[in-house]
Symmetry: none
Subunit: 233 residues, 2 copies
DNA sequence: AAGTGGTCTAGACCACTTG
DNA sequence: AAGTGGTCTAGACCACTTG
């Protein structure tokens, strides 16, 4: 079995990603660009990109292009939890502090996750949730305006963003990734943790039947909170 | 988005399998047969069969033909992750280093999780897994001796603990928790991270039909690895 | 020799997003 | 209007397995 042309192209693009020359969400050469560069037909270049899509290395959007995917490896299963219910189920008092609720010009990672152009406006909320006055979750949420036009008019002390969104834009799909980060100055302030303390970062893209609704970043003090997942086979 | 021709063909073949007209190992119509039957080009028929291959519905052998695959045991989205497969799916090289494989006297947390008394002996493995020579998972596993008597005799360079355990003690239930920790000296050594770097800690209790099998601690460099979970509702 | 799947070409039309 | 990815065509050569 000799090495095929599409494998050569696949390996080339993969090496760009692995060498760090292309980072998450960076644009990957298009089918036409690769076809010209490697002197192959577009279908062959396409096959290379398609195999990278299948491997989860890139994502593709018609009309826009192909992009390096977010790091993600495993697929475990996680319940979508309602933090207010979880706290109350323990017999504790749940409360929230809304730090920001405003319009925001998406850029960088946030824009790319939401498939927006740099500078497009989204709704933004910055809220900390407490369990008996101890901060347990810092929630930053970027919401598409056309999907949830009344987002800024809500009182998120009365109802969590999760509950409100579940009502106005019922979930159809959720993609989450979980990583660990060291607390920066802002996290120290919001969550009352020690500088550099390990925290859980859950990034979540939620979709309704009408498409993407929101991108959320949920940060938990690592030592104060565990995410649970269980399944029976 | 209209229904494409290859989807029509895919659906047709799939319905034959689901209706039981084609059983495991039965021959599926060839690319040429389908192309003629549906009046499409061979490439379009091929795309339909290829998508069935990707879904695990059929297998294909050059020169022989396409055949209905053996019964699938897929638990849909509740996949328990196999790190070796995940790495290889990206086209990367997977390798492992076994640091310890020995008997160990359980105590504290480990004993409690396994419902043992303090000081009872279990089998213990300490292994680091690499993605292209970059450490991505440090796995410490505590295994009940009576459930897996031959655990210490295995070569976990050839087969991961996950694969071995899946074979000798099929999973019946899994309970995981995920938290964030700051890297201690041992983690720095095993995972080649910076001291205090945030890492993901996945703790997992696995059970077979005969009861608890093992307790595992899986530690991932936080910045180098994300756990992904996605579900469609 | 005839049939199979694997790769590849050089075109085409389309829906969609961006300047 | 130009670029993107998605689908599709009608050919081609190939390696491989089977009668």
């Amino acid at each position: 079995m000799s090495i095929t042309r599409y494998q050569v192209i696949r390996t080339h693009v993969l090496s760009l990603v692995e060498a760090g020359q292309l980072k998450s969400f960076d644009r990957v050469p298009s089918e036409n660009e690769l076809a010209e560069q490697f002197s192959v037909s577009r279908m062959t270049a396409r096959k290379a990109l398609q195999s990278l899509l299948d491997s989860g290395v890139i994502t593709r959007v018609r009309g826009k292009g192909s992009f390096v995917a977010d790091l993600q490896v495993t697929g475990s299963s996680l319940r979508i939890t309602n933090i207010a219910e979880d706290v109350r189920a323990k017999g504790h008092t749940f409360s929230s502090v809304v730090h920001s609720l405003e319009e925001f010009n998406a850029s960088g990672d946030v824009a790319r996750r939401l498939l927006l152009s740099d500078g497009e406006a989204v709704f933004y909320s910055d809220i900390v949730h407490f369990d008996n006055n101890l901060p347990i979750q810092w929630e930053r949420r970027y919401v598409l305006r056309e999907q949830v036009p009344e987002y800024l008019a809500q009182d998120f002390n009365l109802r969590t963003t999760h509950d409100y969104l579940a009502q106005v834009a019922p979930l159809a799909a959720v993609r989450s990734s979980i990583s660990a980060i060291n607390a920066d100055a802002k996290a120290v302030e919001r969550l009352d943790v020690v500088p550099q303390e390990a925290c859980l970062l859950v990034e979540r893209l939620t979709e309704s039947r009408d498409g993407i609704v929101a991108f959320s970043q949920l940060i938990y003090p690592g030592t104060r909170h565990k995410l649970g997942a269980s399944y029976e086979l």
